[in-house]
Symmetry: C2
Amino acid sequence: MSKFAVLGYGVVGSGVVELFYKNREKIEEKAGHKMDVKYILDIRDFPGDPYEDKLVKSIDDILNDNEITAVAECMGGVEPAFTFTKQCLSKGISVSTSNKELVAAKGDILLELAKENNCNYFFEASVGGAIPIIRPLHKCLAANSISEVAGILNGTTNFILTKMINDGMKFDDALKLAQELGYAERNPEADVEGHDACRKICIISSLVYGKHVYPENVYTKGITDIKLEDVQIVNNWGGSIKLIAKVSKLDNGNILPTVMPMIVPFSNLMSRVDDVFNAVMVYGDGIDKTMFYGRGAGKLPTASAVLADVIESVKHDRTVFSQMWASSSDNSFVEDYKNLQAQMYFRTESGSKNEVTCIAGNAEFIYDENNQLAFLTDVISIKDAQNIADKLSANGIKIVSVIPVLGE
Amino acid sequence: MSKFAVLGYGVVGSGVVELFYKNREKIEEKAGHKMDVKYILDIRDFPGDPYEDKLVKSIDDILNDNEITAVAECMGGVEPAFTFTKQCLSKGISVSTSNKELVAAKGDILLELAKENNCNYFFEASVGGAIPIIRPLHKCLAANSISEVAGILNGTTNFILTKMINDGMKFDDALKLAQELGYAERNPEADVEGHDACRKICIISSLVYGKHVYPENVYTKGITDIKLEDVQIVNNWGGSIKLIAKVSKLDNGNILPTVMPMIVPFSNLMSRVDDVFNAVMVYGDGIDKTMFYGRGAGKLPTASAVLADVIESVKHDRTVFSQMWASSSDNSFVEDYKNLQAQMYFRTESGSKNEVTCIAGNAEFIYDENNQLAFLTDVISIKDAQNIADKLSANGIKIVSVIPVLGE
């Protein structure tokens, strides 16, 4: 019999408890032995809750009970989750978390602590919700040299962009609808400005390339200035604008993580990932490419990932070191985002095709109406794209939008 | 140091050796210790091959060497792979295989033998090539009650159907092109008649529902009689015809595995999976749905999956029982395919909308040209669809095609 505790009885925590009791028999079969939830930690009261007898208000109740071998941390935020997680790991209690903010900020420290205490810090639920991505990355794709990971890692922004693409809604209206449907917070900044996606690509980057990548070192641009006109021009051309969090391994050994709106051609399956769904495409020398798709958030989808980790926790009697990474004392291995190479989409007001071609070099014009041009360049760096933009401006051509294109 | 052997030095076996030496450092990091290929078993000679010194012709060389703890079986076919695998497992040597024919035919026996000898029989590469699907199914989705798995599990047929959809090619011409490009065998029967996809859905069904499902008990229909006209009508309506291998859990506790062409609406992401790519959609009570996509065959993609299993083999010192299933003495738990419930697509020659509606009940007409009708019914059973077809025929209405529709 393994007994575990759930920290935080909010959406995800209550989902963990609900899904555990719903599928307890199957879960115990997978774990190989009986399991039960012994404690639920929350400072709030839940009178009448079916699991009220398991509720405790102090982490000490959990830490002082030697029966507890695993914990599901579903609190969110850095503190007090960081302190509680450290306390658990120090006692050899494995922790499984959905807390992307904590993993992105302190993953290296917590993984090291887990190793020292011969237990595990698992975080499948911190990226892509229900989508199995962390375990496949370090186990199933272990024989690959991974060159790039690119994903749609935020459901809120993908919902907004889908509404703009499919229903011709403007950004503000789509955001309002997302808020009404409960997909966006009242303060939507973490989602629409890309911070949530940034934390997730930091976790993926750290795992894949073995060194902790901090959110503050990742260029992050949200979707707030995406214009409906660009969405429609790109859609007619054959692609979708998506908020893409990606990381590439460069020839110089550095890695280049970014979060920004990108044009995804229809030939890339991620262009078809709509609504609140997430997807992650992984490129490797063995697999070529493989994609993982599913619900990136929500009560039961996230709970499913947390519980899978809890099951693994109680099966393992030692640290799974293939999902570890090292601390990084400096960020010199993170390449300047201006060196990112991509085809670039420009939309301009005024200016002739001849003028544009003269400045931008090869240009594939995909729109020419209402005194506006839209065109795609060859693959260039963001630095080069900024030079082109500067020259166009200097020639009196107004730049409306510049958006990089994701490859296949 | 772990030393392993590769059985069969054909496409997949040579891919395993190539990918291992290419990424040896990363692989050893994931495994946690040094690794090497000690033997390659093949009855053929490979003069001048860089690994010629590792080639042996008798399995006894491998069985009698106590340094060998893992084997990659890349021979294909039931014999002699079955005998060799039994010999290895009996000695406690874990076996990782890409051999779907063997897993589908004898998986239960080999898994039991692995358990008895405290080692593992792994088969990630047997389904979906590079796509991580076996490990995610029994580990990452362990907290779910899985209601259905549906997949595009054969690259050859998906390539042919893609050519029919995108380029308007007829089946015979698309098959010829697939053969020219090396995607189809000279004798394409195993692919186009659905036998390959059938083996794969048997493996998935056995794993997910815990009892061995044999290919001969699964209704299997290939793509040889798919007509270009239906492909085009369905495409105009908003879907793609795909060869779908699926298995559902029914309310009566039975499972219903089938392989047949189905219409996949564009709202289901599998409709967009083109060319030789495979995809598997898994439906569960926690996750809702999640999809895995990638190359379903090929030298390095398949080798990537085999090697991931070999790495897991050398890390585990005991049997992973969550990926086991039991033998099945009868097939009473496999539901008759005629009870499969789906919307049905009919195409008829002659007959009026009134006549059709009178016989088929609710019908959504999606085509009415050249004295032909195409329509979709409500969700009915295949048995009901056959009754409708019989009644239409009895009324002098010629049935050209009947194709079930896959849900979202």
